[in-house]
């Protein structure tokens, strides 16, 4: 609200009718907008708490409608869902755990891969580029399947047997695409630093390692944060894929709930219940990402 008021006073200085020149676009969704520095910011999605109320009311209306159509002798729908909530929440917690661990692993590996992508040594640069593109271009589900079937269920190292349960395989499977995407984010951020920074650092006699560590990377963190958060929310939404390969997370638990109760009128409420959780978790992240993007945008 406040910002809109300020804009009004700007008019004499910044007339709307400039030359008819196409402005460069900047989508909040484009993972590689870092390159173009003249980008205009998208209008912040103006959603407020009212919309959450709407969501809840839609959910309760659908639950109520299902209740009306359902049988009389069964316990009420809302009570049933309430009863299952702790069970489902446990599954959701597991989803979040998977997302945290995969994000950590993916970020660590991706950071290394991303810095390798700007290596001066051609074989390193080329191989890391190919690796990044390969994992970025393959579907998450296929990678997940790959890790599920290809990794052994236990490893024996010098007599010790390290078990490899399904969920750890899922974590590894999910961290591979994350790694590739983080690598691209880092490369994009480094490329978006004006070349003058490199040149002036060189003229001040910094070594290459110093240039990267002391000059370039510190400027990159800010630019990397919004796409990194975006990636995190994509990953969180991808954790449900683990249900397909048999990890007991919220989707498979929801399936079990539906199978246990055997009431078809539960289908809509339970699935919307799960959808609502993901929305409540991911929406603030998306909003924060947009805000950070706006804050860190270069002023032109």
């Amino acid at each position: 609200m406040f910002k809109r008021k300020i804009k009004k006073f700007k008019i004499p200085l910044n007339p709307k009718h400039e030359l008819a020149v196409l402005l460069s676009s900047r989508s909040s969704l484009d993972p590689a907008p870092l390159k173009d520095q003249k980008g205009r910011q998208p209008i912040l999605a103006r959603l407020r708490k009212v919309h959450l109320v709407w969501l809840i009311s839609i959910f309760s209306v659908s639950a109520f409608a299902a209740e009306v159509t359902g049988g009389v002798d069964q316990p009420s729908l809302i009570k049933t869902i309430f009863l299952w909530t702790p069970f489902l929440l446990k599954g959701f917690g597991f989803n979040l755990l998977i997302s945290f661990i995969s994000m950590a692993i993916g970020t660590l590996l991706g950071a290394v891969l991303g810095v390798f992508q700007i290596s001066l040594f051609l074989p390193v640069r080329l191989s890391s580029k190919i690796l990044t593109q390969f994992f970025r271009n393959s579907p998450w589900l296929v990678l997940l399947f790959y890790c599920m079937f290809m990794l052994p269920f236990e490893i024996t190292i010098g007599g010790f047997i390290i078990p490899f349960p399904d969920w750890i395989k899922a974590v590894i499977g999910l961290s591979l695409p994350v790694m590739a995407n983080v690598s691209e984010i880092i490369r994009g951020a480094i490329n978006s630093i004006p070349s003058g920074q490199w040149e002036s650092a060189e003229s001040l006699a910094f070594t290459r390692r110093q240039q990267i560590w002391l000059i370039i990377l510190p400027q990159c963190y800010k630019r990397m944060l919004p796409p990194w958060m975006n990636l995190y929310s994509i990953l969180t939404m991808a954790t449900v894929l683990a249900s397909i390969v048999g990890v007991e997370e919220v989707m498979s638990l929801a399936g079990q709930v539906l199978a246990a109760d055997g009431r078809p009128e539960l289908l809509v409420p339970i699935y919307s219940f799960v959808l609502a959780w993901f929305f409540i978790y991911c929406y603030p992240i998306a909003k924060l990402t947009l805000r950070l993007e706006k804050k860190y945008a270069l002023k032109t």
């Binding site: 709307k16 009718h17 400039e18 030359l19 008819a20 020149v21 196409l22 402005l23 460069s24 676009s25 900047r26 989508s27 909040s28 969704l29 484009d30 993972p31 590689a32 173009d36 205009r40 998208p42 999605a45 103006r46 959603l47 919309h51 709407w54 969501l55 390969f134 271009n137 393959s138 579907p139 998450w140 589900l141 296929v142 990678l143 399947f145 790959y146 079937f149 290809m150 929310s233 969180t236 939404m237 991808a238 954790t239 449900v240 894929l241 249900s243 397909i244 989707m251 078809p264 289908l267 809509v268 699935y271 919307s272 799960v274 959808l275 993901f278 929305f279 991911c282 929406y283 998306a286």
Partner: protein
């Protein structure tokens, strides 16, 4: 072709690399059909998601507050919930509410099959991203261009179709291609509701022949090449549509 296929049978006998989908005609036809299903699914979703994107971007420029709000709500909902859960929601939850029709064998089947639900769900998912992408392109078109169109007597819709969209399209093509590539990767989710696309067929083949390793490797390579080809085509297209003097 037969000697070529037989060579792979020989390869299996010699090395144990079991590529059934080449030498076994049943598996070959299955996989080919799965591949076509993947292409068909991607193609339809691609078209519908672009249509949703264009329509949504137009509605977002509407003068009615509520139209904009509804579009915004749609975008935020579909962007911030997992596509797999959306798919389940559409197929199992909404699908169960749909009326059933009698098929040719006298049994009852849902009016919309799993393929149609996959198309609906994935198009809405990708469409929500496309709306934002097109909107960013539309915003890049200067106000004076739109005003010039208006002064020539274009209505809002006509100006959008003939003036704004062709310019906006070129501006947002990089972001759009990114999203469309993502969409092709997301079609693997249709596996979850048993649409016989490539991943599903492959899983059938590896459960029949126990050649998981070969099938998985094939799948990875196949998807990477499909995506690679698509990216290349879009890149060429982008190049041919380039506005002279705009952008780097």
């Amino acid at each position: 072709m037969e000697p070529f296929f037989e060579w792979f049978r020989l390869l299996y006998d010699e090395t144990g690399i079991n590529l059934t989908f080449i030498y076994d005609s049943y598996d070959r036809v299955r996989l080919w059909k799965g591949f076509l299903t993947t292409l068909w699914l991607s193609g339809t979703c691609l078209v519908f998601s672009v249509i949703i994107g264009i329509a949504g971007a137009w509605l977002q420029g509407s003068h009615h507050k509520w139209t904009r709000r509804i579009v915004q709500g749609y975008i935020q909902f579909f962007r911030n919930t997992p596509p797999l859960v959306q798919l389940y929601f559409f197929y199992f939850a909404l699908g169960s509410l749909m009326p059933k029709v009698q098929n040719e064998w006298g049994g009852y089947e849902p009016i919309l099959g799993n393929f149609v639900w996959a198309v609906i769900s994935l198009s809405f998912f990708a469409g929500s991203f496309n709306v934002e992408i097109f909107r960013s392109g539309v915003e890049a078109v200067p106000m004076s261009t739109v005003e010039a169109a208006e002064s020539l007597g274009y209505t809002r819709l006509k100006a959008y179709i003939y003036i704004v969209l062709p310019l906006a399209f070129r501006v947002c093509l990089p972001a759009l291609s990114n999203n469309l590539i993502n969409l092709v990767k997301t079609t693997t989710l249709a596996f979850a509701i048993a649409v016989p696309e490539m991943l599903y067929v492959s899983s059938q083949i590896w459960s029949d022949n126990v050649n998981v390793r070969e099938m998985m490797t094939f799948l990875l390579v196949a998807y990477v090449s499909i995506v690679g080809i698509l990216a290349w085509v879009i890149n060429r297209w982008e190049h041919s549509l380039k506005i002279p003097g705009y952008g780097g």
